[in-house]
Amino acid sequence: MENRPLEYDYTVAKMFMLTTVLLGIVGMLIGVILAFQLAFPELNLVLGEGLAEYTNFSRLRPLHTDAVIFGFTLSGIFATWYYVGQRVLKVSMAESGLLMFLGKLHFWLYLAVVVAVVVSLFTGVTTSKEYAEFEWPIDIAVVVVWVVFGLSIFGLIGIRREKSLYISVWYYIATFLGIAMLYLFNNMEIPTMLAASPAGETGIGAWYHSVSMYAGTNDALVQWWYGHNAVAFGFTVPIVAMIYYFLPKESGQAIYSYKLSLLSFWGLMFVYLWAGGHHLIYSTVPDWMQTMGSIFSVILILPSWGSAINMLLTMKGEWQQVASSPLIKFMVLGSTFYMFSTLEGPIQAIKSVNAIAHFTDWIVGHVHDGVLGWVGFMIMAALYHMAPRVFKREIYSKSLMATQFWIQTLGVVLYFSSMWISGITQGMMWRAHDEFGNLAYSFIDTVTVLHPYYTIRGVGGLLYLVGFLMFAYNIYKTMSARPVEESELQSASPMGA
């Protein structure tokens, strides 16, 4: 047997890095198309009347949300897990043939599900539940993928050398458990072919069709318990897992307070699950649930800021790194946007504010300052940090990275600022009335007023997409950049001009 020193094995991490980049491009491209369709409705017919079915806003919207959530973000989570997991547990996947097999199985099954989702959503097969559009055969496949992911996580933990689980691992485990529970409960559904109508018909509808087990108010409650916690366990918890590893590692500073990280963890876990009611304020759900949703949303600021402040304090005395390293810039701006959206969210959850904000573009603005500024920035930063280490080469271009940073930051700012203005304008115009209670404006009045802001949002989104393409190019070129020595990879990532 040859006696090579043991090394971490990044095969599976690399595979998921690829899907992160590709699905990111697809998802954001569709996002930009959607944004311009809202500003210029003719674009719904861009490929002609005949193909309008495939190019209209309503067909493309779930493709955008699912591609960025379950494609880009989830791939990023998997890629970083297969990288961070090995390192903080100090065990290589190469040490276990079984884990290697599970990792690859995880990837290929995931890819098969992605293909199935894209085809089904393009052809209009959907359950019409937001973020849970997949029909039952796909749901079952999703569960299988998730179980394999779980086996990978716990398998690696089982053979670890480091006894204590680093805080990031806690967050990855919570992601796994949280999504498993949410996904199962919200997708309880009955294939229509098994149902019988009151008239006695059986085998109704296509084989892949199903109806939810919940109806009416219960459906709304379960759906938003799911939707809200999908944000929690998809856009918050795993991204916090990333920043707890990548920021200390890249800056060479141990995390400011490990104790604070433990507190924030348990705080987040307890509070998040109760806040979903804020999506249903002034709807038909019981009043106390709405109030509870509001209150827990406000409390949620504490554990959220606990993590974010911990990150900023980790940079204490090291702020020159923010100026000199574009990679650190991404992470510091990411945690700043995290603080920003977790302050904005609780404000929107206050009943009187929600009365104006709900159904308007302000919510869309909130969504995108979180996902673009926090989730997107953090995943790109993680991949930038991983690239030199998995390819053993320096990052192709530092100046390209810095340019990308500024272009995307401008994009995010244009996106959320335009949506704030249009959202609040919308909210105010919808409720404005004269002294007799007659509404002052009709719907089309708002549409006319909002047009410029929709255009600005489209431009902001386009800038973000351009930045993302620069990121993809930079990662691609990194694969053939100057090879680096092991010693260069200790903390700050090596970067070419």
């Binding site: 903080v88 480091e162 590692k249 060479g252 903390s491």
Partner: protein, 67 residues
Amino acid sequence: MSIAEIQAYGYFFLTLFMVLVLYGYIYHLYTKKKDADGIDYEKYGNIALDDDIGDAPVLPVSKDKEK
């Protein structure tokens, strides 16, 4: 007592209980400073920094297994 009252009391005491647990945990972390294995919590921050496969773990899974 009506069901609504029971719920209200339940909710109140549950919240109180959670608050006590949280503050108890904070108190515990900051007075003990060390976990059951006798390791200062802050040492665990180094798991991310010294994460090469050859680096010594902060706390090895089993001492006798390591050389």
